[in-house]
Amino acid sequence: MLETKTFIGKTAVLEGLAEHPAVKAILAWRPEALADAKFDRNELTLTIAAGEIRVAAATVQAAGYNFFEDVTAVDWFPASPRFQLSYHILSHIYKERIRLRVMVEGDEPAVESITAIWPAANFYEREVFDLFGIIFEGHPNLLRIMMPDDWKGHPLRKDYPVEGYR
């Protein structure tokens, strides 16, 4: 039932999954944009260089990964780069999912918005902005979505205490 095949690292994935449509599309577009890759637990993760995500999203969309499911962040505080953004994208044609990953530096984290490619990302990017404080450049309406507008801080960051500030 559970897939055992695993490829860790860019070279391993490029060798093992050279025929994968998403890998092929990214390589055809710009091989150096692919910073890292892994195929673990039956899930393909492609790490995209920061600043390239909008075009990378458009590239995989053109390659048949047509459905945007989710974007969220992980705070690796105090490591650097601090934030990891995970985009989950589904293909109705290939019936599989890929994960695009972007690492963002901590101080004033910012990344390009993909709302122009998938309008569905609108609420999700607002949520990440609200709870992690990552700015999405080019987002049409980047406002807090969960927390009140006058809230201080970003609750899902790891340096934000579970009980909140007292």
């Binding site: 559970l2 637990r41 989710d70 969220t72 589904l90 019936k95 569905a120 609420f123 309406n141 507008d149």
Partner: protein
């Protein structure tokens, strides 16, 4: 930043702003299905723009999860989509089991499918009752809640709880189902198709109900995909995709069922599809009952699954495991998984990042209603204000999973 900035200062859709009125609907309103606030810009009775304002129910569940052991998160997932708790439990347990590479006994898998489909019936029944009630057909509500009551009684016998069941465990199920469980489920689904006919008789031919739904809240297939709409709402727009069939999880590949599709994309199509889905769910439950294998309902993993009460009190080893799991949890190998399932409302996806400790490093819940809400504006622009109620009812949202 304060509340004077957004919503109404966002550039208007048309130039004629002076004639437009801002109408606030909710958050405390019975037709808003929870605490949803909609800010509508209207021109007479025509909706120019609609802006959903959410977060009233935000409790920071994702943050809370980071402070809990993996097994302690299960009851929290109940509280996301509180109308289909078993679907949430299933998604979470499948995700953690993939991180652990844990095999689940066959009987637990089949029981999970049975319960997930029973949950779908439960959820669709509430949707049908409240949706029809919003439109003005109050009778149907009383009928659907009569059937839902029987499902809740089955759940109560199973888990001791009617709504927040928390019956699934990482590695299987919480306990053996009661002796009369299968007979009760069989009795329920034997009678249920007739009940669907009953609802259908009340609604499908009803000219008022038809008039309120047909051609209302149209969402094209392209828009559904662009806006992240999933589940019955997406299939009502003609996108033929269902995770149960196309990317099977939890043994769904062993079951025969049809995925209903409609192409109109209006509220009526969504109504028809959900009625058909209920019939298909009955079929799946029947197959699960007929083919239910024998065997244990918990995986043989003493370091992850709590031992039986009896064993714990008689065997030293079991007592140690019990103590360890309860006080320290169990370590989950580092890594990340995204597990998607087809919940009653659409594609649910739980993303779990583990750092190798006993508590999840990060849990993210992708819940279908959250994305569906984005499509509200597209469905309602240029429509009458009264259609807002019909559309909000037809997309079947639950605010618990939107706000989390």
């Amino acid at each position: 930043m304060n509340r004077s900035t957004p919503i109404l200062e966002v550039p208007a859709a048309t130039g004629a702003r002076d004639q437009h009125m801002i109408l606030n609907m909710g958050p405390q309103h019975p037709a808003m299905h929870g605490v949803l606030r909609l800010v509508a810009e209207i021109d007479g009775e025509i909706v120019v723009r609609i802006y959903p304002e959410i977060g009233y129910l935000h409790t920071g569940i994702e943050k809370t999860c980071e402070a809990k052991f993996y097994q302690q998160v299960v009851p929290l997932t109940d509280r996301l989509d509180y109308l289909s708790p078993m679907a949430n439990n299933l998604c979470y347990c499948l995700a953690v089991e993939r991180l652990l590479a844990l095999e689940i006994p066959e009987r637990a898998v089949w029981l999970r499918v049975l319960l997930a489909e029973l949950t779908r019936l439960n959820s669709h029944l509430i949707w049908l009752g409240t949706h029809a009630m919003d439109i003005g057909a109050l009778t149907v509500f009383l009928y659907t809640f009569r059937e839902r009551e029987e499902i809740l009684r089955i759940f109560e016998g199973l888990a001791g709880q009617r709504m927040m069941t928390s019956y699934f465990r990482i590695g299987g199920l919480a306990m053996e189902p009661p002796l009369d469980f299968y007979a009760r489920v069989q009795g329920f689904i034997r009678a249920f198709p007739e009940k669907i006919d009953e609802y259908s008789n009340l609604l499908t031919g009803n000219p008022i109900f038809k008039g309120r739904l047909q051609g209302v809240g149209i969402l094209s297939a392209a828009d559904a995909i662009a806006l992240g709409v999933t589940g019955p709402n997406m299939r009502g727009s003609g996108v033929d995709f269902d995770l149960r069939r196309d990317m099977p999880y939890c043994g769904y590949e062993k079951f025969q069922f049809k995925v209903p599709i409609a192409t109109e994309g209006d509220c009526w199509a969504r109504y028809v599809i959900r009625l058909q889905e209920m019939r298909e769910s009955v079929g799946i439950i029947q197959q699960a009952l007929d083919g239910m294998p024998h065997g244990p309902i918990k995986a043989d993993a003493p370091k992850i699954v709590l031992p039986d009460r009896e064993k714990m009190k008689t065997q030293m080893e079991a007592l140690i495991h019990h103590f360890k799991i309860v006080t320290e949890g169990f370590a989950v190998p580092a890594g990340e998984v995204y597990q998607g399932i087809e919940s009653p409302r659409g594609q649910m996806g739980y993303y779990i990042v583990s750092d190798g400790t006993a508590k999840p490093y990060r849990v993210h819940f992708r819940n279908p209603s959250f994305a569906t809400l984005q499509a509200l504006d597209t469905m309602l622009r240029g429509r009458m204000l009264a259609d807002v109620i019909a559309v909000v009812g037809s997309i079947d949202i639950v605010l618990g999973e939107i706000d989390r």
